[in-house]
C-alpha cells in the first residue's frame, strides 16, 4: 500500500494543481506534495514494506537508495520552484507544475519497479512528462531542444524495449515471469547469444537516457534550454533512474556468469563518456551546456565504477547520491546567475560573487565539489572508484581517468572563475533578480548535504549503501 501511495500521491497532487485556477497559488502544491512524498519515502525505507501488485512493485536496497535521492532532490527543487515561479509570472505554470509532479510519480515507479516491462514503461513515461518541462520557455531554441530530446530519447527508449524483448527471449522456458528476482534465478540457463545482444541493446537504450557518450547528443541542448530546476531534476534524478535500469540488467548478466563481458562494456562506455565530456568542457562558453557535459562525465564515472567492481560498486552508488545533490546545487545556482544577468554565456557574465553573492558562492562551492575536491562528498566516492582501479591493477584505466579529471578541473575552472570573479561589466544586462530566501536556501541545504557526505557518512545511510552494494554483488 505504501508503495502505491508513493506513486499515487504525486499524481493526485498533479490533479489538484491542474484544477487550481490561480498561477499564483498553484506552486504551493509542490512543497506540499514533496513533503508528503518524503515522509512516505522515509516510512517505506525504515519499515520494510510489503510488495504490491503481485511483486511488481517492491523496494529492494537499490530502489531504496534511488528513491531516497529522488525524494530529497525533489523536495529541494519544490521549495526552490515556489521562489522561481514568482519570477516567471509571464508564463502560465498550469502544465509545468502537474508535469513536475507526474515526473516525481513516474521516477518513483521506476525506483520501485521489479518487473522488466514495468520498468520500461516507467522510464518511457518520464520521457514524455519531461518534454513539456524542457519546452517551458516557449522559445525557438527550447522547441529545438525539446524536439531533439524527444527524438533521441524515444529512439533510445525504443532500443531499450527491443533489448527487454531480447532478454525475455533469452530467458524463455517453463517459467515466463519477467520479475527481476525470477530472471536472476533463471539467469544461468539463459541463452548466451541472446543475453549478449540484449545487454548491448539495453545499455545503449538506457544509456541514451543516462546520457552516456556517444548517445549524449540531446543532453547539452536540453539542459541548456530547460529551466535550471528541470536541469537539476533531469541530471540529478532522471539519469539515476536510467542508471538503476542499467544496474538491474547488469545484475542479471552477472548472475548468468557474464559479468566480465558486461563489465568490459561498462568500463568502455565510462571512459569514453569521461573523455568526450572533458573535450567539450574545455573552452565551453555557455555555462549551462558546461553543466550538461559535466553530467555526461559523471554518468561515465558511475558506469566505470560499476564496471570495475569490488569497492568501485560502493563508490559508484555513493557517487550517485553525491552527483545528484551536487548537480542540484550547480543547476539551481546557475539558474539564479542566468536570471540575474539575462545571459548564460560567460562573455556577459562576470562578477557573480558581487551581484548575487549567495548563488555565486554556492556555484563556486558546487564546482569544487563536482570536480572532486576535498572535503566534499564526490571526493570520497571518486577516490573509492579510483582506488579500485589501481587495486585491480588497471593502471591504464586509473591513470587515464586521473588525467581526464584534471582536464575537466582546469576546463571547468576557467569558465567558473570567469563567471564569479571580477566586476560585473557595465554593459552586462541588469535584471530585477536578486538572491532571495526561497531561491537561495534550498541550494544551501543541498550543498550542506554534499559537505556532510564528504565529512561523515551517517550510519543509517552507510548501511543503506552497503546493503545495496551487497545486493548487487550477491548475484555473482
Amino acid at each position: 500500500m505504501l508503495l502505491l501511495a508513493l506513486i499515487a500521491l504525486p499524481v493526485l497532487a498533479a490533479g489538484v494543481a491542474m484544477a487550481l485556477p490561480s498561477d499564483e497559488w498553484r506552486p504551493y502544491v509542490l512543497p506540499g506534495a514533496a513533503a508528503g512524498h518524503l515522509a512516505l519515502t522515509v516510512a517505506a525505507i525504515v519499515a520494510p514494506s510489503e510488495a504490491a501488485l503481485q511483486g511488481w512493485l517492491a523496494l529492494d536496497p537499490l530502489g531504496r537508495l534511488v528513491l531516497l535521492l529522488l525524494s530529497v532532490l525533489f523536495a529541494i527543487c519544490a521549495i526552490y520552484a515556489v521562489g522561481y515561479l514568482r519570477y516567471r509570472r509571464e508564463l502560465s505554470n498550469r502544465i509545468f507544475i502537474p508535469c513536475l509532479l507526474v515526473f516525481l510519480a513516474m521516477t518513483s515507479l521506476v525506483a520501485c519497479s521489479q518487473h522488466l516491462g514495468l520498468l520500461w514503461v516507467g522510464v518511457e513515461a518520464t520521457t514524455l512528462t519531461t518534454a513539456p518541462l524542457i519546452y517551458f520557455n516557449r522559445t525557438q531554441r527550447s522547441i529545438e531542444a525539446t524536439w531533439k530530446y524527444l527524438l533521441v530519447g524515444s529512439v533510445g527508449i525504443a532500443i531499450a524495449l527491443l533489448g527487454s524483448f531480447f532478454l525475455a527471449y533469452a530467458s524463455l522456458g517453463q517459467d515466463s515471469s519477467l520479475l527481476f528476482q525470477d530472471l536472476l534465478k533463471r539467469a544461468n540457463q539463459m541463452n548466451r547469444s541472446w543475453l549478449h545482444v540484449a545487454f548491448v541493446l539495453l545499455l545503449v537504450g538506457y544509456g541514451t537516457k543516462m546520457g552516456l557518450a556517444p548517445m549524449h547528443t540531446w543532453k547539452p541542448d536540453a539542459y541548456g534550454e530547460a529551466p535550471g530546476i528541470v536541469g537539476a531534476l533531469l541530471a540529478g534524478g532522471l539519469t539515476n533512474c536510467a542508471f538503476l535500469a542499467v544496474l538491474r540488467v547488469f545484475q542479471v548478466c552477472q548472475a548468468a556468469g557474464e559479468g566480465a563481458y558486461a563489465s568490459r562494456l561498462l568500463v568502455f562506455f565510462g571512459l569514453f563518456s569521461i573523455g568526450v565530456a572533458a573535450v567539450f568542457m574545455v573552452g565551453q562558453r555557455d555555462f549551462k551546456r558546461m553543466l550538461a557535459y559535466s553530467s555526461v562525465e559523471h554518468m561515465g564515472i558511475l558506469v566505470l565504477g560499476v564496471g570495475l567492481g569490488g569497492i568501485g560498486i560502493l563508490g559508484a552508488l555513493l557517487h550517485m547520491l553525491n552527483n545528484g545533490l551536487t548537480k542540484g546545487v550547480l543547476f539551481l545556482s546557475a539558474a539564479n546567475i542566468h536570471r540575474a544577468y539575462g545571459s548564460k554565456s560567460i562573455d556577459q557574465v562576470a562578477g557573480a560573487m558581487r551581484r548575487v553573492p549567495l548563488s555565486g558562492s554556492l556555484f563556486l562551492l558546487g564546482f569544487f565539489a563536482i570536480t572532486g575536491s576535498p572535503p566534499f562528498g564526490p571526493f570520497v566516492s571518486e577516490f573509492l572508484i579510483l582506488s579500485r582501479a589501481f587495486a585491480a591493477d588497471r593502471f591504464v584505466v586509473g591513470a587515464g581517468v586521473l588525467v581526464l579529471l584534471l582536464v575537466v578541473f582546469v576546463g571547468m575552472g576557467r569558465t567558473v572563475l570567469t563567471m564569479v570573479q571580477g566586476q560585473p561589466s557595465s554593459e552586462a544586462g541588469r535584471t530585477q533578480y536578486r538572491d532571495g530566501l526561497l531561491t537561495g536556501m534550498p541550494i544551501a541545504v543541498s550543498m550542506g548535504f554534499v559537505l556532510l557526505l564528504g565529512l561523515h557518512l551517517p550510519s543509517p545511510l552507510e548501511s543503506l549503501l552497503r546493503d545495496a552494494a551487497a545486493f548487487l554483488e550477491a548475484a555473482r
Binding site: L128, E144, S154, F165, A168, S176, G224
Partner: protein, 214 residues
Amino acid sequence: MNFSAANLLLIGVLLLNLFCLGTSRIRALIQAAALQGVVLGVMPLLIHGRVDWNTGLIALATVVLKGNVIPGMLRRALREAQIKREIEPLIGLVPTMLLGALATLLSIAFASGLPLAPEHQNLLIVPASFSTVLTGFLLLTTRMKAITQAIGYLVLENGIFIFGLLLLDAMPFLVEIGVLLDLFVGIFVVSIIIHHINREFASLDTRRLASLKE
C-alpha cells in the same frame, strides 16, 4: 500455426520497408506505414493459431492505432502545417533504398547467428524485425522534415512490435498494451511539437533547428 501465411505477410512488410525508403511523397509514406501497421495487427492471430481474448484485443488495438489513429494524426499534421508534399532526403532516394536492401541482407545474416526456440524455427520474424528497425533508423536519419522523422519512428516501433510476436505467449497483456499506449502518446506529443515547430519556424524542416551546436 499458419507459418507460410505469416511468412508471406512478413515478406510484405519487408517490401513495404523498401517502398518507404523509395517513395518521394509524404502522403504515400504515411499510407505505407499505416498498411504496415494493419499487416502487423493481423500477425498475432496467425502466429497464435487460435483467437482468444488476449490476442484478439492486441490485434484489434494494433490495427486501430497503427493503421488508423496515428496515420490520421500524421495526416492532420500534414494538412495543418501546409507543407510541401515532397520528401527532402539528405541522401538520394535510390541510395537509401540500396542501403535498405543491404540492411535487410545484414539482418538475415545476423538473425541466422541467434538460436531460436523450436516452435519459432522457419519463421522470418527476427530478420523482418531487424530490417524494419533499421529502415526506421534510415528514415529518421536521412529525412529532414519533422513529420518524416516521426514516421521513421513509427516504422522503428513496428520493427520492435514484430519481435514482440515471438513473446506473445510469454509476455503479459499489460506490457503489450503499454507498448501501444506509449506509442500513441509519443506520437501525440510529437504531433503537438510539430505544430509548434511549424508555427515558430514557418517550416517543418529540421535543418532550421540548428542554432544549438558546439
